[in-house]
């Protein structure tokens, strides 16, 4: 069984996000990058299948420029076998659907049996790509999964359904799974893994290699356009209540009910 993992690099969660030019978006000159945390669960799930000899090969798919290779190498160092990086001038300005078209084409070309994605990327938090990829491929999808049992040619995936309830979905392969926290405990790269990753291959594929229709991807095809960026307003400072405990508690309850409207 061949397993694919969609991997995106995102600004580290403790980065300082700044918008300098409203047209250009987030200023990334000072940003440290990391693998999208949800993608780490996706990668770990694939690597566990390989450890258990259920998967013969783990392939990373990344839509991104050369700068994304550092995090692809991190994925290879953790144990993935090779990677496909999708990069083409014709893909620039793609929206989520354009990106999904490219990833779907790559997953199909590789013939993976399971495509693991993160539940969402923590940079723009759109959570669109996994569902779109599944639709484009005509594969079943189970999203935001926190437990999987693997069968023969199928799997059962559990997802929180809100209010403490869970939903268990059985799906035949091939399938798209998006991974949530709790699914597993991601490993980090060993130093030996890093040395070995240097010898692993990252193939770079473009629109032609993937058989994509250039009119369906890139800026021209995008249905979502970014027009203006601004930083969120600064958070108002917290308030400290002073006085006797009974008085303060009463005041706190009142504020929570009347101002914050949370109780």
């Amino acid at each position: 069984m061949k397993v694919g993992v969609c991997l995106k690099q995102v600004p580290a969660t403790d980065s300082r996000i700044q918008v300098k030019d409203p047209a250009a978006g987030v200023d990334t000159s000072d940003v440290k990058w990391e693998i999208n945390p949800y993608d780490e669960f996706a990668l770990e799930e694939a690597l566990k299948l390989k450890d258990d000899k259920k998967a013969s090969e783990v392939v990373i798919f990344t839509f991104g420029d050369k700068a994304a290779e550092a995090k692809i190498r991190d994925g290879l160092a953790r144990g993935a076998d090779r990677a496909v990086r999708i990069d083409d001038p014709a893909l620039q300005g793609s929206d989520a659907l354009g990106i999904a078209r490219a990833l779907a084409a790559a997953a199909k070309k590789e013939g993976v049996d399971i495509l693991f994605c993160g539940k969402q990327a923590v940079d723009d938090d759109q959570a669109q790509v996994p569902a779109m990829v599944a639709e484009l491929l005509g594969w079943p999808q189970v999203l935001a999964v926190d437990h999987i049992d693997y069968g023969d040619g199928s799997l059962r995936a559990r997802r929180p359904a809100g209010g403490g309830a869970t939903e268990v979905v059985e799906a035949p392969l091939p399938v798209v799974i998006s991974c949530d926290k709790g699914l597993n405990e991601p490993r980090y790269a060993s130093l030996r893994g890093i040395m070995m990753a240097k010898k692993k291959k990252i193939a770079v594929l473009g629109v032609g290699d993937l058989g994509l229709d250039p009119s369906q991807v890139g800026a021209a095809a995008a249905m979502v356009a970014e027009s203006n960026w601004s930083e969120p307003p600064p958070r108002p400072p917290g308030r400290i209540l002073e006085g006797d405990t009974p008085q303060v508690v009463a005041e706190l309850v009142r504020l929570l009910r009347e101002e914050a409207k949370v109780i």
């Binding site: 991190d74 160092a77 130093l191 240097k198």
Partner: protein, 381 residues
């Protein structure tokens, strides 16, 4: 040269992640309980940290001392005790790689590089520290065995390690009469009667290695008879780079902690970093850490390039360890009362830093090495 390459950065990130995951959660507890965890060391080995400069053929990573220094800095920023464990267990690997026979290398290096075995280096005795060439432990050839007698003092990993390179006298007095031996911890006649109680570096076990008619096979001699002192000194040259790197890690951890604290802690209505007395102290700490790191990296680079590096390694060890002492002491000062409280890590950094000025040659001995180099360079020929 002045910034890690992409590959080196990946190693640094991986080392930090491994150290934080494996050592971070229990670092304070282990210090308090004076506990060394073989399982944690083993896990460092699984992460690839136990044989960084050791050849790939023997299970190492085959990297240079520059990478070794970068990785040790990261580990030591979390736990200096395990930084020392990696460095000390690295010494038998370096020694056997250079002076050992094929059989000796195959027997010991892969296990050490994997972190399955824990190694040590036993030179010091209660009567011979700085003056190591005066050591009194003896080795006698009896049939096809060597029989060792004596007591080695302050030996890192005594009682927990599996194998030690022991320096013992096989000939006359002085450096030329000393030979190096591989002494397995379970060899007959080897015991570990005393574990020292220390000021700092408490998770790193230190103790006596007692040799009472200790018997090892004849093929456990390393190098030639009489070559032991040279072997020990060359190991210490390399070791000084590692002690320097560990000290940079300690100093960096203290300086970063203190900087963050000084930005948050407010007195007189402002963060204390805005008081010149505190801000300048932190600025000095930053300069010293950066400068020490560059010197350690230079010594490592010289070694990797195959150039003479003994005097630069001495400078690096001395500078980095003096830096660690000064910076960790100032970090305690920046934290004020909290600096002295064990719930905060800086007092541990300070206790751990002190020993760095003493081991692998005291800082007085380093200055001696540097001064001798100066005399050779500038004195009459």
């Amino acid at each position: 040269m002045f910034a890690p390459s992409e590959d080196q950065q990946a190693l640094i990130d991986a080392a930090r992640a491994a150290a934080e995951a494996i050592l971070g959660p229990t670092v304070r507890e282990d210090d308090e309980a004076e506990r060394f965890r073989r399982d944690a060391f083993r896990r460092l080995g699984e992460a690839g940290l136990c044989g960084i400069p050791t050849a790939e053929a023997w299970g190492g990573l085959g990297l240079g001392y520059l990478e070794y220094a970068m990785v040790l800095e990261e580990v030591a920023a979390v736990s200096a005790a395990y930084g020392v464990a990696l460095a000390v267990s690295g010494l038998p690997q370096v020694i056997l790689a250079r002076y050992g026979t094929d059989a000796q290398r195959e027997r010991w290096i892969p296990g050490l590089a994997a972190g399955e075995l824990l190694g040590g280096f036993a030179l010091s005795e209660s009567g011979s520290g700085s003056d190591a060439a005066s050591l009194k432990t003896t080795a006698r050839r009896v049939g096809d065995e060597w029989v060792l007698n004596g007591s080695k003092f302050w030996i890192t990993h005594a009682g927990v390690g599996d194998v030690f390179i022991v320096m013992a006298r096989t000939g006359g007095p002085g450096a030329r009469g000393i030979s190096a031996f591989i002494v397995p911890a379970d060899a007959p006649g080897v015991s570990f009667p005393k574990r020292e109680e220390k000021m700092g570096m408490r998770a790193s076990p230190t103790g006596e290695v007692l040799l009472e008619d200790a018997r090892i096979p004849a093929d456990h001699l390393v190098g030639k008879e009489g070559e032991g002192f040279r072997i020990a000194m060359s190991a210490l040259d390399s070791g000084r780079i590692t002690i320097g790197a560990i000290s940079v890690g300690l100093a960096r951890a203290a300086w970063e902690y203190a900087s963050r604290y000084a930005c948050e802690r407010e007195q007189f209505g402002r963060p204390i970093i805005r008081f010149q007395g505190v801000g300048f102290m932190l600025a000095d700490m930053a300069m010293r850490v950066e400068a020490a790191r560059l010197l350690v990296h230079k010594a490592a680079w010289l070694r990797d390039e195959g150039r003479p590096y003994t005097h630069v390694a001495a400078m690096a060890k001395c500078t980095a360890t003096d830096t660690a002492m000064a910076v960790t002491t100032d970090a305690v000062q920046v934290l004020g009362g909290n600096g002295y409280i064990r719930e905060y890590p800086v007092e541990r950094y300070m206790r751990d830093a002190k020993v760095m000025q003493i081991v692998e040659g005291t800082n007085q001995v380093q200055r001696l090495v540097i001064a001798r180099h100066l005399e050779r360079t500038f004195g009459p020929r």
